[in-house]
Symmetry: C2
Subunit: 336 residues, 2 copies
């Protein structure tokens, strides 16, 4: 018998928890028979949501955790004090080896702090980056790091490049993924102090396919598979993506119904346009993995849809089956 | 008689120089009788372009400069060695007081280096930021700094905030402009080391209307008039704006003509859509000013259209008539 991938899911995380999370878990269990889910949260609330659905009961366990960490709480304090919160209880199940992976739509800060403090980094990993996939004209690219470690050092960025390469090659099936460093110009002498220090280190790496600088302007085109950057910059890129995209789409839609002639046109255009814009929706790609930990931590949006949470759960299967953590550890400890 | 605003224009800068530049100068001269333009560049080429147009000859002078600085040249070396280049000659006309302002679509690097080295900073100005206006859902906001000074210090960012406020209030007519610092979260404790150090300094400034952090996601909404950031981050924001916008618009257009039904719809929608997207085109706002120098330096895109270059020239009028440089100097030397 094949061993199931065991996933701890934070039932209390996200704007519409536990409802959205419970529904997503049920859908994930139906979509794949390779997983067993441990739903961690306030038992009564979780069971009440669960009672709405039919699902394979032998692959679901509810684990009671009486506390919940709110979005606005200071992360480090919350993780330290709320020992019976869903995040803390679920993360400890990964640390102990009871689960392979963890998924949460809860507080980003608490998940980032908890990932490093409770799940813990693999030996040799300096910092654990948050690495979302972002949609591009050619498919998706990995943006690494995106919020976990502001003020990173050059050595951290080199590790991010290696971890990102392994992820894209093994999970996304990109052969010899192209790695670029986010920069403000194409030439090697461009950049701030951090980029100038990191660039030659990346060029010397034997185990990645470093292609040089990638300007922010070229990110949406998708010419590079792994985009390495410091977390403050990565966060700005991710948020700009969301902000510019949603503002433009809103304006385009409003513009289309601004008069009768174009209202009729809008009706005709709508199905094709919907198909096009789907490519640029973040939720079909699931959440962002934190790489380099003792088990997979996936952080998905607080406003995540059922589809996004479901996909975040399903992405844990490949991660575990492909032994990404082991590959990362081997690569970091073999190289420079 | 009212004194004319005297503007040195780099005739050799930009992808299609001198053609585009000369045409833009002619249109600017026709659009406003408040300006006199000094067209600096290779005289034969400039005069040959000029011969195509009718224009008020008494408000145009051609100044010969035999060299041109190419986009790919190392900026500092080019400025030092090419003493008879259009950029160097034109900038010196500002430094000497012969001109009030300068406009170029040439090498960003050479213009930034030249601005600081040849035109020179006003007394008390630590660094001179490049500050483009970016289109938002509510109009435009100033993004400062956007490429002139990577690895800036907290004290630099405080000056940027003051300069940006003066610009938005006096040039764009925004009363008591809202100033935000670009950050990765809304709370004061969020951010990297630079932002954490700068935040309390901005809060203490009496002469600006500081409203706190602005997340990149909220930039396109336009809730803040002046967005302060370090240049690497600012450059990424600007380039993401261009990249995401153009990729999305391209995909939307392609999606619309993907089948017959939507092709017909696209025809009906087109005029309204064009009107909407116009708001998000960068060229109607002219180029980006470098603030805090002994005269105005305006850098416009290498690929700038005739309209963008023309608007860059016309924006020098308000800047000079409103005595922005004097106001900046007074504010920086009065305050903390």
């Amino acid at each position: 018998m094949v061993e199931l991938v065991k996933i701890a899911v934070d039932a209390m995380g996200g704007d519409e928890a536990p409802g959205v999370v419970v529904q997503a878990v049920v859908e994930a269990l139906k979509a794949s028979d390779k997983i067993k889910v441990f739903l961690v949260g306030q038992e009564n609330a979780v069971r009440s949501e669960l009672s709405k659905y039919e699902y394979p009961q032998e692959r679901l366990e509810v684990v009671n955790a009486t506390e919940a960490i709110e979005m606005a709480e200071p992360p480090a304090t919350a993780i330290r004090k709320k020992k019976d919160s869903s995040i803390v209880v679920a993360m400890k199940m990964v640390k102990s080896g009871q689960c392979d992976a963890y998924v949460s739509a809860g507080s980003t800060g608490a998940n980032l702090v908890g990932g490093q403090a409770l799940v813990g980094r693999l030996p040799g990993v300096r910092r654990s980056p948050l690495a979302p996939l972002i949609p591009t004209a050619k498919g998706v690219s990995l943006l690494i790091d995106c919020g976990a470690n502001v003020d990173a050092k050059a050595g951290d960025l080199v590790q991010f490049a290696k971890m990102g390469s392994i992820y894209m090659e093994n999970i996304m099936g990109v052969k010899n993924p192209k790695v670029g460093i986010v920069n403000i110009g194409a030439e090697e002498e461009k950049g701030n102090a951090l980029v100038k220090e990191t660039f030659p280190l990346l060029r010397e790496c034997q185990d990645i396919n470093f292609v040089g600088s990638v300007e922010a302007r070229d990110i949406p085109a998708g010419d590079v598979d792994v985009m390495v950057c410091e977390a403050f910059v990565g966060n700005v890129i991710l948020k700009m993506y969301e902000g510019v995209g949603s503002t433009l789409i809103k304006e385009v839609k409003a513009g289309m119904v601004s008069n009768t002639r174009s209202k009729i046109g809008a009706l005709l255009v709508k199905p094709a346009l919907k198909e096009t814009l789907k490519k640029f929706e973040l939720d079909q790609y699931g959440g962002a993995p934190m790489l380099g930990l003792n088990g997979l931590v996936v952080k998905t949006h607080g406003s995540a849809s059922v589809t996004e949470v479901k996909n975040s759960i399903l992405q844990c299967i490949d991660f575990t089956e492909q032994h990404i953590s082991e590959k990362i550890q081997a690569a970091l400890n073999a190289g420079a």
